[in-house]
């Protein structure tokens, strides 16, 4: 079982706090299943937002032309339902295991490993640049949660060797498709943005397209495999 504490977050949301990321991922997936299935008690949840140790449950929907206005939400009952659901979930072994659970396919992303921080990453990890690339491409990564910017997926992979700190001085602009590392996570910058992750390389794949539905190439629990692409 997983245990979770319910914290207040205003009139329309609650925040669930858990012990670790593995529990967050497992419980967020279970809650999303309840919401998607339209289970009683979950219908007013509009957004399930997992983060490193917490899950935000937001209620409320956009008013429609003809639909009834949404009534008052019972946040106490929602918190109790979340705790009851958590109690039924077996504790996952790791975040990567919880994140990859049930993923049907592995998304392959081709990367040109010529990142500006590759040498720094090698130095910080004690590996050669070739070994860094090998470790990154041999790992099956899974989406733990999104955050920071639209479509920015935090990938976990049980990859002890590649843990590096953020850059001490964040870049004011990181190009879209940049592939980076920070802490226990790897990520692909979906759009141009400022950023402090250490850059391994870049991909030409489109990770985020707001005109598409869904807009994101990856979703919660997607499994990802990076493949080294020769630079021409």
């Amino acid at each position: 079982m997983i245990s979770t504490q319910v914290l207040p977050m205003g009139e329309e949301a609650i925040l669930l706090e858990l012990d670790d990321l593995a529990g967050v991922i497992a419980l967020a997936a279970a809650i999303q299943d309840q919401v998607d299935a339209g289970e009683p008690g979950w219908s007013q949840v509009s957004d399930v937002v997992p983060a490193a140790r917490t899950i935000l449950l937001r209620t409320g929907t956009a008013p429609s032309q003809d639909g009834p206005p949404s009534g008052d939400v019972d946040l106490v009952a929602l918190g109790q339902a979340a705790q009851a659901l958590a109690a039924e979930i077996p504790e996952p072994r790791s975040a990567a295991q919880a994140a990859g659970e049930g993923a049907e396919e592995v998304v392959t992303i081709e990367v040109i490993y010529d990142g500006e921080d590759l040498a720094d990453i090698a130095e910080a990890t004690g590996l050669s640049e070739a070994e860094v690339v090998a470790a990154h491409t041999e790992t099956v990564w899974s989406v733990a949660f999104f955050g920071f910017a639209p479509g920015f997926a935090y990938l976990v992979g049980n990859q002890e060797a590649l843990q590096v700190p953020r850059r001490s001085e964040p870049r004011t602009s990181v190009p879209p498709g940049s592939v980076g590392l920070a802490g226990e996570f790897s990520a692909v910058y979906p759009r141009e943005s400022p950023g402090g992750w250490q850059l391994l390389g870049r991909t030409e794949e489109i990770m985020w397209d707001p005109t598409a539905d869904p807009p994101s190439r990856l979703h919660q629990g997607s499994r990802v495999r990076f493949v080294a692409k020769e630079q021409r």
Partner: protein, 287 residues
């Protein structure tokens, strides 16, 4: 096609509707009109139902030439609007004709005026909304001088309201009602907020309203704690390490890494949307 040709966009004019729902888990914020009550009143005055795009004009200064015939209403901050130099009523449906010029002054109280045109502004939605998100860049681009804002056709019943008597924003000190946030226990929050008066910083925008005043201090034992980033909502009162709180607005980041001491009620967030720099506020626990 009918529409408004922008003669002068003013300091900031953005298309907004009810915002984006259901995309928070992908890192996409809710966005939408900051003063929901004023935006919804505009929709009612032009009688086109909820969810259509209006123009959110910050600090007035907007001017446009009318193309075709339009029904329009101005709500929120009263910007002393005029049509071809003649004053027009606030919070009332107005009939505009081809070639007329609509001009907004600067509001004497409040910050944001909503310009609702019957049918709504006709732009492509992005992720289910026609709202400009100033944080992520999603939605329509900010309005510029020379833009032609087309209006969608609408066939529903006509407005039957002449003028809506509504409270207007004030310039004086505002009491904002708050409920405890998830990290209220990181601060001596009950006492800390009781007597403190905050001044709205001019570095405030749709992402957050920054408050300046006597810094909020963390309780002993929490001083050096790092908070892993967690989900945020509109109205969160986040306290960065300097102790000067920020009230998150509609374009707030979906997650944030500083503790949230309190959350402003939805009703009072509409008043936060109208706060001007230098205005004073107090945060009061909801009893």
């Amino acid at each position: 096609m009918s529409g408004l040709e922008v003669v002068q966009a003013g300091p900031q004019s953005l298309l907004q509707d009810h915002g984006r729902f259901g995309y928070s888990a992908l890192g996409v914020g809710r966005c939408g009109a900051s003063d929901v009550t004023a935006y919804e009143l505009g929709s009612r005055l032009v009688a086109h139902g909820p969810g259509r795009a209006a123009l959110e004009v910050t600090m007035g200064g907007f001017a446009a030439r009318v193309h075709g015939s339009l029904t329009l209403a101005l709500t929120g901050a009263d910007a002393a609007a005029s049509l071809d130099g003649q004053a027009v009523p606030h919070a009332a449906p107005l009939d505009l004709h081809d070639g007329q010029e609509l001009r907004l002054g600067v509001p004497s109280a409040g910050l944001r005026t909503y310009l609702s045109v019957r049918g709504g502004f006709d732009v492509e939605p992005e992720l289910g909304s026609r709202s400009s998100d100033t944080l992520s860049g999603l939605g329509p681009a900010p309005v510029h001088d020379g833009d032609l804002l087309g209006v969608a056709d609408y066939d529903g019943p006509f407005p039957n309201v002449d003028v809506a008597p509504v409270p207007v924003p004030t310039t004086g000190r505002l009491d904002l009602e708050v409920t405890p946030g998830p990290r209220a226990d990181w601060f001596d929050a009950a006492d800390a907020l009781r007597e403190r008066v905050w001044t709205v910083s001019e570095r405030s925008n749709r992402i957050g309203v920054r408050l300046e005043g006597q810094a909020l201090k963390r309780v002993e034992g929490r001083v050096d704690d790092e908070l892993p980033s967690e989900g945020m909502v509109r109205g969160c009162v986040q306290v960065p390490s300097g102790g000067q709180p920020v009230i998150f607005g509609n374009d707030h980041p979906v997650t944030g890494g500083y503790p949230v001491v309190a959350v402003v009620t939805a009703r009072d967030m509409d008043r936060v949307a109208q706060l001007t720099p230098g205005q004073e506020v107090m945060l009061r626990w909801r009893s």
